[in-house]
Amino acid sequence: MTPLIDIRDLDVRFTAGASQVHAVRGLSLTVAEGESFGLVGESGSGKSTVLRAICGLAPTWDGTILIGGRALPPRRGPEFFRQVQMVFQDPYASLHPRHTVDRVLSEPLAIHGFSDRETRVERALEEVGLGRGFRFRYPHQLSGGQRQRVAIARALILEPRVLLLDEPTSALDASIQAEVLNLLDRLRTERGLTYIMVSHDLAVVAHMCDRLLVMQHGQGVEELTRAALRARAATSPYTQALLEASRGYTAA
């Protein structure tokens, strides 16, 4: 069976002034339709860059990215974003500062010609635990976790097939996190959605993802199944260190 997402030998470089950053180095991964795939790894190892490359937001890249067996057009048009939505790691930067929550949510609906916008906006807010009172607020009038939930609602509102989730619950307390994770789980079961989810919380990854790839220095160092993660059956020293450190803080 062809995987829904197939990335081969992905290379991404950034040029910043005189220096070059080789952010992703020959990364390959495949995700089947309906699967939930985790990306974990060192800060700066290229996780967000992989997701951004899929969305056409990486400046120069090499390699192959296939979705449903087809190469992506150089410019991702509305057709692409109808199928693939991304929740950015940094919700502040991804929400327009002068657009109300209402506008953030209704604009994509208008672009893609949905008719029942009113109901969809209300439902989307409710699904992420934000009441009506939030609908006409601006991003700066929200707490960090409330902004993150608006970003999740925006990605879900178009009912895409694929969700790229970059640390989607990192700003949420455990109770809201549980609600969002349950929502994502339910959508995947009901609609057969496919996820790639970046998280540094191994318990969240084990909860959400069937398989995961551990990244370091722009490369994949180890692929694990959920069962292997739960059994702490990691072979690379970096993954073992991650598992060790996730037990909590111990004074040196």
């Binding site: 950053v21 800060s43 700066g44 790691q89 976790g145 994770l181 540094h200 996730s246």
Partner: protein, 276 residues
């Protein structure tokens, strides 16, 4: 003597539905210790931190019966007093670091600016200290990050740049708002060790806002729990599992767990009287 005394702190914003009090009478004292604040998203943790530093964004207003930092009555502080305190003696790592950093100034220059409180250092000394600080927060390539603009950093690198900027000034009080939420656990441990040393060796007071319960219970000395603008519980961090308030107890139960599979995760049935 307490380093910081907060008594009946309130923060109010005007909204379409009338004034909304988002911090409703928070009181606590802080010594030279690690005090955790946990609580529901939107419960007023960040606004509490900002109000202590006099950084409530307009048109919001903050009031307190008492707000005293190291013997200084902050309720009476002039703009000049504030300039002397903020960034030098008290500082805050903001929850949205990349947004809080100056987008058009390199990371290195921003860290060097924070050293202006340290008397007369030569440019070379400042540069040295900034690079050392970036190295201490586990930045792999300090020279590149020193010369980079905030948008050229990953989420966790931006967070560490902000931490570096706040720590070079060696403040007496640090409010860290979700400072490690974008860091992988191996880097997180190293950053926490730095904070830990500043508290134990230099006697800094630390307010550590986080939603990571495992982290707070293993890293902090005490924990305050906030819900709907109020402090609903105060506990020794190690006793978090003995929490009595139904919100806190519920929180612990909602966490996914590496060892057990629980689908769906339990959620909270919030009761109206929790917010009273």
């Amino acid at each position: 003597m307490a380093l910081l005394t907060v008594d009946d702190l309130r923060v109010t914003f005007p909204t379409r539905q009338g004034p909304s009090e988002v911090v409703r009478g928070v009181s606590f004292t802080l010594g030279r210790e690690r005090l955790g604040i946990v609580g529901e998203s939107g419960s007023g943790k960040s606004q509490t931190g900002r109000a202590i530093l006099g950084l409530t964004p307009p048109p919001g207003r903050a009031t307190a019966r008492q707000l005293v930092f190291d013997g200084i009555d902050l309720n009476r502080a002039s703009p000049r007093d504030w300039r002397g305190l903020r960034g030098g003696r008290m500082s805050m790592v903001m929850q949205d670091p990349k947004y809080s950093l100056n987008p058009v100034m390199t990371v290195g220059r921003q860290i060097m600016e924070a050293l202006k409180f340290h008397g007369r250092l030569s440019g070379a000394d400042k540069r040295r200290r900034a690079l050392d600080m970036l190295d201490a927060v586990q930045i792999r390539d300090p020279e590149r990050v020193f010369a980079a603009y905030p948008h050229e950093l990953s989420g966790g690198m931006g967070q560490r740049a902000m931490i570096a900027m706040m720590l070079v000034a060696e403040p007496d009080l640090l409010i860290a708002d979700e400072p490690t939420s974008a860091l992988d656990v191996t880097v997180q441990v190293e950053v926490l060790r730095i904070l830990d040393r500043l508290v134990t060796d230099r006697g800094m007071g630390l307010i550590f806002i986080s939603h990571d319960l495992r982290l707070v219970s293993s890293f902090c000395d005490r924990v305050l729990v906030m819900y709907a603008g109020r402090m609903v519980e105060e506990l020794r961090a190690a006793d978090l599992h003995l929490a009595r308030h139904p919100y806190t107890r519920g929180l612990l139960n909602c966490l996914p767990d590496l060892d057990h599979d629980r689908h769906p995760l339990p959620t909270l049935e919030r009761q109206a009287d929790w917010a009273r």
